[in-house]
């Protein structure tokens, strides 16, 4: 025995007999077995316990957690909805657009006439600069301008503020959900928010990047004014454009291959004169696994060259085209641009973590690994259900021809299903399919970057349409109809007939949709059937009650047991050492 141990053993009253310790251990173990709530044990142990101690007592199962269902108001402001009435501005007949959040008619007029050709009063109603969309020079003498100069800026949405916990400027895709985005945006003036007291992005700064519409043969210039803090470019995917512009500058948007990236504070003009028509695509080509997926991608439509063909050069937020082209008016009653997209929040939310561009570049380019990507959010025209219902419903009437231009700007495939209708695929990636070989079906498939032009014929014949109603229009990959796993969400949209539309542009649904406007719903805090289950048969039960006394005793026993075990083990170690 060492000196120390000898010394300790000589101290009176400090030593408890080994026998006592063992008795205590057994007593405490039995107490623990009795006190521990059976539900905490694995099923096999529970069985063992009941076979020893008899069947458990009957206990009423927990009641539902009391929950007051505060249904929010539908965010369908009649004043905003009134913007959807047919209107004449700047001598243009802007089409009616029944919707809770229609495009502002002044914006539409500015994009049709050109921001340089409208009255000061109309320009004031928009948030645009004088040079945002400059139109001039009827080169072919057919009554419309043929030199079109579009200026795009790059805008961050929902990024970190060094001053407050909220991200700025705010753009929600669904109630309470605001992933970070970078978007191309028209050149606007003044405040980026709706007013100084608000953090909400103004109506022109939003997802997705705007649809660009140009006429074949026009001299198009798109100036990228890089107002963002990282380098970007524009690549014109599928659009007829020269590799270099007239001055020998790169024009394909690929860093290193055709050009140098456009740095913050710099501007570059991309030029083209498209010989072919069709629904195309444009996107940034810098670190595309990051930049495209942050939102820097949009639809680009080349329309046929027709006389007096004044085009709505930009369709902000995509959706209904309130001033369609001459060719579109001839063949179709209405036209909709549908931009599908998916978001991996692990990437998009990185801009909420950092403010320093160096840290953001590091985190997105080198920290984020696109091969590990999973998508949580699925967007139609920059929003998820139920916000899609506020602004991206495909409104139709019986016996119409509707043109749908569909782009998959995301990385997940899209299997678009039209309830109640079969649509005809007229164009693939902007190229017309042989009319004799065109396919009519109810699920159309788009891989990443693909475009389809669809004819939605509302002839009620049981094939093209089953008749009037509110018919879902959604991606049939079922994860895509959720928002981070909560259904209904994702890219759910609707085809809604006029007779199913309320005056404010809201579809007259059978059920109450207000629940889905609650941020708590998408945070997973509300049982999904709350609105249709007033008795709470599928409500959220309280946690199983374990009485406080029992818990206190259990704690005490546990503590004593632990103490006994510690003393015993020390004894054991000491005696082993002694040997």
């Amino acid at each position: 025995m060492s000196q120390t141990n000898q010394h300790r053993h000589q101290l009176p009253g400090r030593v408890v007999g080994l026998g006592w310790l063992v008795v205590m251990l057994i007593t405490l173990s039995i107490a623990l077995t009795v006190l521990i709530p059976p539900v905490w044990l694995p099923p096999s142990l529970q069985q063992l316990r009941y076979s020893w101690l008899g069947e458990p007592d009957f206990v009423e199962l927990p009641a539902n957690q009391p929950r007051e269902l505060n249904l929010p108001e539908l965010p369908c402001d009649p004043i905003i909805a009134a913007r959807g009435e047919a209107r004449e501005i700047e001598g243009l007949q802007i089409m009616r657009s029944p919707s809770c959040n229609p495009d502002h008619p002044a914006d539409v007029a500015a994009f049709v006439k050109g921001t340089n050709n409208i009255s000061a009063a109309t320009l004031m109603e928009t948030l645009l600069t004088v040079d945002a969309v400059d139109k001039r020079d009827d080169l072919d003498g057919d009554g419309d301008p043929d030199r079109i100069h579009i200026r795009l800026e790059v805008v961050e949405l929902n990024g970190k503020s060094p001053e407050m916990s909220q991200t700025v400027p705010r753009f929600e895709i669904a109630p309470g959900i605001a992933p970070g985005f970078w978007v191309f945006a028209p050149k606007t003036r003044g405040m980026s928010t709706t007013n100084f007291g608000s953090l909400e992005a103004n109506r022109l700064l939003r997802m997705p990047s705007p649809v660009i519409r140009v006429e074949a043969g026009d001299e198009i210039s798109i100036t990228l004014e890089n107002t963002h803090y990282l380098p970007h470019t524009i690549h014109l995917h599928g659009v007829d454009h020269p590799f270099r512009d007239a001055s020998g500058e790169g024009n394909d948007g690929v860093p290193g291959v055709s050009e140098r990236m456009v740095f913050p504070g710099e501007a570059r003009t991309y030029e083209f004169k498209a010989r072919q028509t069709g629904t195309m695509f444009y996107h940034c080509h810098v670190q595309p696994q990051v930049h495209v997926m942050m939102g820097l991608n949009g639809m680009l439509v080349v329309e046929e060259n027709r006389p007096d063909n004044w085009l709505q050069t930009l369709n902000v937020g995509a959706g209904h085209v309130r001033y369609p082209s001459v060719a579109s008016r001839e063949a179709y009653d209405r036209e909709y641009d549908l931009h599908y997209f998916d978001v991996d929040k692990d990437l998009n939310d990185l801009i909420k973590e950092y403010n320093d561009p160096r840290l953001i570049a590091k985190a997105t380019n080198r920290g984020y690994n696109a091969t590990q990507r999973t998508a949580e959010y699925y967007l139609l025209n920059g929003r998820s259900f139920p916000f899609t219902l506020l602004e991206s419903a495909v409104v139709v009437d019986t016996g119409e021809h509707i043109k749908l231009r569909v782009l998959n700007g995301g990385l997940e495939p899209v299997s678009l299903h039209t309830h109640g209708h079969k649509v005809r695929i007229t164009h693939y990636d902007g190229v017309e399919q042989n009319p004799l070989a065109q396919i009519t079906r109810d699920v159309v498939f788009l891989s990443s970057a693909q475009r389809l032009d669809l004819l939605l014929d509302t002839k009620n014949d049981g094939l093209h349409s089953y008749g009037s109603g509110i018919w879902l229009l959604h991606d049939h990959r079922e994860q895509a109809v959720t928002t981070d796993g909560i259904n209904p969400g994702g890219d759910i949209g609707v085809i809604v007939y006029e007779d199913y539309l309320a005056a404010n542009g809201w579809p007259r649904f059978f059920g109450d949709m207000r629940l889905y406007f609650s941020p708590d719903y998408y945070a997973g805090r509300i049982p999904v059937w709350s609105a249709s289950d007033p008795e709470g048969r599928f409500g959220e039960p309280e946690n199983q009650p374990v009485t406080t006394v029992r818990l206190a005793l259990l704690g005490l026993v546990g503590f004593l047991l632990f103490g006994t075990l510690v003393i015993l083990s020390r004894r054991l170690v000491r005696s082993v050492k002694a040997r």
């Binding site: 340089n116 050709n117 000061a120 320009l123 004031m124 109603e125 600069t129 004088v130 040079d131 001039r136 800026e153 805008v155 961050e156 949405l157 990024g159 970190k160 503020s161 060094p162 001053e163 407050m164 916990s165 700025v168 400027p169 050149k187 003036r189 003044g190 405040m191 980026s192 928010t193 709706t194 007013n195 100084f196 608000s198 992005a201 700064l205 004014e225 890089n226 107002t227 963002h228 803090y229 740095f263 913050p264 504070g265 710099e266 501007a267 950092y354 403010n355 320093d356 561009p357 160096r358 840290l359």
Partner: protein, 202 residues
């Protein structure tokens, strides 16, 4: 250049009424009273200018704030803006981040934009009865300059100055205008105060 162009490029001047009419609702009863009061007076000395170089909002070289018995000093300064003035870890910068003027001064500011994209010099918190939304605003297109004048009130106060384009304030374009001795410093003004929620460099 078309006639229509020249029409716009020639300075378009609007009375503040337009800004009032388009200002968002919900400013409170006091603001509404001020609006009504303002409409009756119909003065044209502070106005909105939009042209090819940018814009000026709430230009005011004559009308005194209520608390100023008489016009103070005339103060003139230039503000340069662009990526070349950015501090480390920012994207954009003003050449200075603090400006100081005497009470009731008439301030003539020229914003000189050395970048090829838009920037702004926007002051907030001015009296709303003179400046719709409490704001004086200069906006210069890439490579352009824009000048405007405004008259500051008499009390010692620090006003927020920034570029309100999305993330330009966050990425360096924040400053403060001190009238008199000012009322302290604002948070996260580059070169003056630190960020309340700084990045971590680990």
């Amino acid at each position: 250049m078309s006639k229509l162009d020249r029409g716009l490029i020639d300075v378009i001047a609007f009375t503040a009424l337009i800004a009032f009419a388009t200002a968002p609702a919900g400013g409170g009863a006091q603001v509404n009273d001020e609006r009504a009061h303002h409409r009756q007076k119909d003065h044209s000395d502070h106005r909105m200018v939009i042209d090819a170089d940018g814009m000026v909002m709430n230009y005011n070289e004559n009308e005194l704030p209520r608390d100023c018995a008489q016009l103070g000093e005339d103060v003139t300064f230039d503000v340069h803006v662009g990526v070349r003035y950015a501090r480390r870890g920012a994207a954009f910068g003003f050449d200075l981040n603090e400006w100081q003027v005497p009470p009731c001064a008439r301030v003539a500011v020229t914003l000189i934009n050395d970048d090829s994209v838009r920037h702004q010099w926007m002051v907030h918190g001015l009296p709303r009865y003179l400046y719709p939304q409490g704001m004086f605003h200069l906006e210069a297109n890439g490579g352009s300059r824009k000048t405007g004048k405004f008259i500051v009130p008499s009390d010692d106060r620090t006003y927020l100055v920034h570029c309100d384009m999305a993330h330009h304030m966050e990425k360096g374009l924040k400053g403060q205008l001190k009238v008199g001795s000012g009322s302290g410093d604002l948070p996260s003004v580059p070169g003056i105060t630190g960020a309340r929620r700084p990045d971590r460099y680990l």
